[in-house]
Amino acid sequence: MCLAVPGRVLEIEERDATRMAKVDFGGVVKEVCLEYVPEMQVGDYAIVHVGFALQRLDEESAKQTLELFENLGVLEEEFGDAWAKAARDAGAERPAGTTPPQGPAQDADEEGRP
């Protein structure tokens, strides 16, 4: 969870007086708070950590980093099914009441996919 993942801003809206965006991380789309990087615009890339954009990043750097993180398994850790992983590690069944997250296919915005 320490690593911040680059993503591309798809759309921006105000919610509860807070600037929020939909951000695409190589196919997975998440809600992200833009309050710390108020200059972000649609199409920009940002370094995002636990749902908050922390710094703008150029497109080439963002794409290289995303590719690396995918190879390292970081994206799976960040956006994958934590309960399934914990159950695997424990050699146990996943606890009741934990449901798999929606996959990228349901989560992604068609227009925003790279």
Binding site: L3, G51, L54, E78, A86, D89, A92, P95
Partner: protein
């Protein structure tokens, strides 16, 4: 150089390795502070491709690993309460407390939920006004601003059933503590790039000057790490000790002013215990008095925690760079990712997990063994 073809730009990687080799005239020990850097170094075999004189020491920069056992036990106690929805990042689920972990609490009926962002936990609080929603706020300077913003939002929106179990830590005091240790053998630091994305570089020149130690702000990609090593070695060979930014595409000298302003509003600096290392003065944050109502420790009065640390786990020495993971007798035997004794084996950013995952099970070299403090 069997790993070289795995680099995104093998030609540039070879050039950097060659430059580092040409620069190096004597042994040097460099600490990479961040667990993400450790992961990348081991995954790409950077430590094995460097000249024998360059020793990389893995630092304490994994937030999951350094969260104190007492805090984990407090989390487990709060998460067990029937009125509580306990929200956490996924990598905390299998971190062992004194007797169990969050996964076990969930299996026993506790309402533990994994969230991607602290704002997700705040939304759960809005949607469940009759429950107490607690978010496990761990992490370094990169994670603290999102958690600060979430508490700020909770107060602004009048959401009274949300609170934060806070265990935030700060990197510069940890660097200071490592350099002050009589066992210290670190001669240069690769500082954690994303921490500096928020905090900038202003805290480092004083440390570099006082300890006569080069500090190079470094990213996570293999080429970033090689460039950080090249700059650190160049300084060491020249007898210099200044702060350099080798990650300028993400790190501005001033960091993120908006994030730092929010940190200053919501948190205040405090002494903080690090798992396996112990108390480091002024190395953490807690909620400032204005936000005390959102402090889960205060709200749930979790006291009288009786912690029981593993007697064989040597993760504290791993976190301080005093031993390599495979030098612990339990590594790969009693201690595996399935049955971790310490957090360094749980978190993928932990040095023990990285060594286990990439099968670094060989015994230490003569040079490593002789240089262990």
């Amino acid at each position: 150089m069997k790993y070289l073809d795995e680099f995104s730009d093998p030609v540039l990687a070879r050039r950097l390795f060659d430059e580092i080799r040409a620069l190096t005239t004597q042994p040097w020990s460099l600490m990479e502070v961040c667990g993400g850097q450790t992961h990348s170094i081991i995954r790409h075999g950077i430590d094995q491709l460097l000249p024998d004189e360059i020793q990389l020491i893995h630092g304490p920069g994994c937030p999951v690993c350094v969260t104190p056992l007492e805090t984990i036990d407090k989390a487990l106690e709060i998460a067990s309460r029937p009125e509580v929805v306990f929200c956490s990042f996924g990598d905390m689920l299998r971190v062992p407390g004194s007797g169990r972990d969050l996964f076990k609490v969930k299996s026993e009926g506790g309402d533990v939920r994994v969230v991607y962002s602290p704002l997700d936990a705040l939304r759960i609080a809005q949607d469940n006004p009759d429950r107490q929603v607690v978010f496990f706020g761990i992490g370094f300077e990169t994670t603290a601003p999102p958690n600060a913003m979430t508490v700020y939002q909770a107060k602004k929106l009048g959401i009274g059933n949300f609170s934060l179990l806070v265990s935030h830590v700060r990197v510069p005091p940890a660097i200071d503590a490592i350099m002050n240790s009589p066992d210290c053998r670190v001669q240069a630091f690769l500082a954690a790039g994303h921490v500096c994305t928020v905090m900038g570089t202003a805290e480092y020149p004083e440390l570099a000057e006082r300890h006569k130690v080069p500090i190079v702000v470094t990213g996570f990609e293999p080429l970033d790490i090689l460039e950080g090593i090249r700059r650190a070695v160049r300084q060491l060979e020249a007898g210099r000790h200044v702060v350099e930014n080798a990650y300028p595409r993400a790190v501005q000298p001033e960091g993120s002013p908006a994030a730092r302003a929010m940190l200053a509003d919501v948190f205040e600096v405090t002494d903080r215990a690090w798992r396996g290392i112990g108390m480091i003065p002024r190395s953490g944050w807690r909620l400032s008095p204005r936000y005390r109502d959102y402090d889960a420790e205060h709200r749930f009065s979790v006291t009288d925690i009786d912690t029981q640390e593993s007697t064989v786990c040597r993760s504290g020495e791993v976190l301080q760079g005093l031993i390599k993971p495979h030098e612990c007798a339990a590594f790969g035997k009693q201690c595996t990712p399935r049955n971790p004794l310490g957090a360094t084996m749980v978190s993928s950013e932990g040095a023990c997990a990285a060594y286990y995952l990439y099968r670094r099970l060989q015994v230490p070299t003569t040079q490593e063994a002789s240089s262990v403090g």
